[in-house]
């Protein structure tokens, strides 16, 4: 056992009485939604008598703040909010304990733009300043060495769709299902699939994080959370398309009354891959990209990913 | 250009009749004094003539350009100085800016407030405020001038002086002046006709013409003053009795 684990074991208080978990009502959080709606997590935790309380967030910052305050113990998040909190707390706040989803972010542009050179002078959007897609977009645009800079305007996902529909922006680097929404409903097309920019097309979209305190106190519970996550992912990866679509649609509707129509969700599901692989090697790259485009202050992502629960699972 | 009242009645919401079918004709250029007990409806009457209050029944005829009105309380605008208060009346009467300055000064001198023209109302004494209100009423320069106890807050000497000013103004301009007073002697001294109002409801109890002859004869004037006082006292006593019975 590594030094980390000894320390953790020292404070082990056995299974938690309650697990408070946060996630978004987003397609990329489907494992969380499925794990809830199919009772996978509940089945896992029942044996310890651990209760579940789930909280639905709109955005990463609030989820991170809640995690830090102890209002939730674990959360499904984008990698960047997790990374930002990890760096600003000097590694004390949280760990990524499992992957959830990878892929599923694209640069969607209007039909006047057919090759990357035409991005010169355009107005592009990303969902959140310093977020995964924002950094990717800035990095990509920088790499193109365009004759004339493209503007990057961070705005929320819903607003991006609205702006694109109205022709206010020429394109947007957004996650699913918004990329599909722009394609299916607003006549856009995918110019770049982010997957093409990463080795094997794998970059984290959603990860599962847990607060360090909770992890130290209740490793058994965390283990069960990771197990449930993997089980949900397995279900998503094995179910047939129709069943999957129906389950996700229902879970989304239950969580936030989603009104995205089937075509959008179906298209989006094709773009996203679910996997518990946390892709640990990608984080330092994310940090370096961000620093390179002038977002954030950089730092060392070492130790962010803690794979011990996943490791135990494989045994 | 006088004022005509025809069967004018007034009641406020929740009160009985305050003024009851009052009719009188006030001719152009008349100087009328209104006497009556406190609360009998004198201010209400002036308010109706000024068009600030509609009668409950009956009708009045007044000059179309309205009447200048000096309120019972000074009613100065607190954010304006004494001279600005007077100036506003001139401005709203349409006088051009360049001519107003001199006129304001003149009016304030008339009421002996030449030295206080730059003071705000809250820096003036009660009597000074009343005199600014008087200056403002004169600034309006309408054919009909209504005055509600214009000299109540003034000392005898200042009052005397202003009596003279008012008399001579009336003689020079031929305005129709209707003024309310509590001072029987003041009424005799200034007016050409005195209306005595009864109270609850207000009706005309007595009308007296004052001739110059009577005015200038101290004995006759004193006798009239006594007589009017007696009338008023009798009226008052009646009410006291009523009050005592009804209570």
């Amino acid at each position: 056992p590594g030094p980390n684990e000894i320390q953790a074991n020292a404070a082990d208080k056995g299974p938690a009485e309650e697990l408070k978990i946060g996630y978004f009502a987003n397609l990329t959080h489907a494992p969380a939604l499925i794990s809830q709606s199919k009772g996978i997590l509940k089945d896992q935790l029942d044996s310890d008598g651990t209760k579940i309380e789930s909280q639905i967030f709109n955005a990463g910052p609030a989820a991170v703040e809640a995690l830090n305050s102890g209002a939730i113990d674990a959360a499904y998040l984008g990698p960047n909010p997790a990374l930002n909190s990890y760096l600003s707390s000097h590694g004390e706040s949280l760990n990524v304990i499992s992957g959830v989803a990878y892929g599923g972010a694209s640069l969607v542009v209007n039909d006047k733009i057919t090759n990357p050179e035409q991005l010169a002078g355009t107005n592009l959007a990303s969902p959140q300043f310093g977020g995964t897609q924002d950094v990717a977009l800035r990095n990509y645009v920088k790499g193109l060495k365009l004759s004339q800079d493209a503007t990057v305007t961070p705005s929320s996902n819903g607003t991006v769709a609205q702006l694109f529909g109205r022709g206010e922006i020429d394109g947007a680097w957004v996650p699913e299902p918004y990329a599909s929404l722009l394609v299916e409903k607003n006549g856009g097309h995918r110019l770049v699939n982010e997957a093409d920019l990463w080795p094997e097309g794998k970059f984290p979209t959603t990860v599962l994080v847990v607060s360090k305190d909770f992890m130290a106190s209740h490793p058994e519970t965390v283990q069960k959370l990771v197990d449930a996550n993997t089980e949900a992912i397995d279900w998503l990866n094995t179910a047939d398309d129709k069943e999957k679509l129906k389950a996700v649609q229902e879970a989304l509707a239950k969580a936030n009354g989603s009104t995205f129509d089937e075509a959008v969700i179906a298209a989006a599901l094709k773009e996203v891959n679910f996997s518990s692989d946390p892709l640990p090697e990608t984080y330092q790259e994310l940090v370096d990209h961000a620093l390179a485009v002038g977002v954030g202050t950089g730092g060392d992502a070492d130790g962010l990913v803690d794979t011990r629960f996943l490791d135990k699972q494989e045994r | 250009m006088g004022v005509l009242l025809n069967e004018v009645s007034l009641s406020y919401p929740g009160t009985g009749l305050v003024i009851d079918r009052l009719s009188t004709e006030i001719e152009d250029g008349e100087f009328i004094a209104v006497l009556g007990a406190s609360g009998c409806g004198k201010s209400s009457l002036l308010n109706m003539i000024a068009g600030l209050l509609a009668p409950t029944s009956g009708w009045l005829e007044v000059p179309k350009d309205g009447a200048a009105f000096m309120f019972q309380d000074a009613n100065l605008l607190p954010w304006l100085t004494a001279s600005e208060n007077v100036d506003l009346a001139l401005k709203l009467a349409g006088h051009p800016a360049d001519k107003r300055g001199a006129r304001v000064e003149e009016l304030l001198k008339l009421v002996q407030l030449g030295h206080a023209s730059n003071k705000k109302p809250h820096e003036l004494s009660g009597g000074m405020r009343q005199r600014v209100a008087l200056a403002r009423a004169l600034a309006q320069d309408r054919q009909v001038l209504l005055m509600d106890e214009p000299f109540a807050a003034l000392d005898a000497i200042t009052r005397d002086m202003l009596h003279e000013q008012l008399r001579s103004l009336w003689e020079q301009t031929g305005k129709t002046i209707i003024f309310v007073t509590h001072n029987v002697r003041e009424a005799i001294r200034l007016s050409g006709r005195i209306l005595v109002l009864s109270s609850h409801p207000g009706r005309i109890l007595e009308t007296r013409r004052i001739t110059d002859e009577l005015r200038n004869n101290p004995t006759q004037a004193a006798a009239l003053a006594d007589e009017l006082t007696t009338i008023l006292r009798k009226e008052q006593r009646k009410h006291e009795l009523n009050d005592r019975i009804s209570n």
Binding site: Q55, N58, A62, A66, A71, N157, G158, T259 | M1, G2
Partner: protein
């Protein structure tokens, strides 16, 4: 008797006033009429407009949204939750701010020191408090109330303070002459005299409370936090569902109109009538 010429005017009883329908009724009919006119306009514009239905939904498509939201009960419960939070939070805010404002009014140095900060706090957007509130209180109603209170309190304090500042100094003299203690002065003279300004401040405070609540309700839903109107609004935005956004806006407006008509307008009317004044255009009978 002199005949009517153009230079004379005849003043007669104002019968019109008595023939007019009751002011109470008017107060309900007029806003309703306004709403009908506005909605018709909106429908016409949405027909004429070249914008796609999903970018500019007309009243009909918004109305079609309603049954679904009513069926799953989310709209009703969201309104219920938000209204409960807003009203209870507002009451707490009033209870806290009133003595604070009185304290500031009677401690000149304190007022000089803290007064400008209170005004400055009014301009601080509600989301500024969210991180701190979450860290202190986690995901509980306490967080929501904190954000709400910090939004409403400064505004109510300022309202009452400016009401007190406008009290004519003669009332202060009176209170001194009558030998009122500081408490008696506050209770019997200061508060009633400042009432009209205070109520104006309360109305603004209510607006701040409600708006801060909307911001606070964006933090999270489910679990420990019940769904509120703010969350519903954000959901509409996130889903790029403008019909939902419009529906929520209309609901908020409706709640606002009802609170105004049922609470603030009558209080204000009574206060003014007590002082022999009236809202412009209303007779004070």
């Amino acid at each position: 008797m002199s005949s009517m010429t153009e230079s004379r005017t005849k003043l007669k009883p104002v019968l019109a006033l008595k023939l007019r329908p009751s002011g109470r009724l008017d107060a309900l009919v007029a806003p309703l009429l306004t709403v009908v006119v506005l909605v018709s306009l909106w429908q016409i514009v949405s027909w004429v407009s070249p914008l796609r239905e999903d970018l500019f939904p007309g009243p009909i498509s918004v109305a079609q949204k309603l049954p679904q939201l009513l069926a799953d009960g989310s709209l009703v419960s969201a309104v219920g939750n938000s209204l409960f939070r807003a009203v209870s939070g507002f009451v707490i805010a009033v209870v806290i701010s009133t003595p604070l404002a009185l304290l500031l009014a009677h401690q000149p140095l304190l007022r000089k020191g803290v007064g400008p900060l209170v005004s400055a706090m009014q301009v601080l957007p509600s989301i500024a408090w969210v991180p701190a509130a979450i860290i202190l209180f986690g995901l509980s109603d306490a967080t929501i109330y904190t954000v709400l209170l910090l939004g409403a309190i400064p505004s109510i304090i300022n309202g009452l303070l400016s009401g007190i500042d406008m009290i004519p100094s003669q009332y202060k003299s009176l209170s001194k002459v009558l030998g009122a203690s500081k408490w008696e002065h506050m209770l019997h003279i200061e508060l009633p005299a400042a009432m009209p300004g205070y109520v104006a401040g309360l109305r603004q405070g209510w607006a701040f409370a409600w708006r801060s609540l909307m911001a606070a309700e964006l933090i999270a839903v489910g679990g420990s936090l019940a769904l509120g109107v703010g969350s519903l609004l954000q959901r509409g935005r996130d889903l790029a569902d403008l019909s939902l956004v419009m529906l929520v806006i209309l609901t908020i407006l409706l709640v606002g109109v009802l609170i105004e008509l049922a609470v603030f307008a009558p209080i204000e009317r009574k206060l003014l009538r007590d002082r022999g004044m009236s809202r412009t255009g209303e007779s004070n009978g």
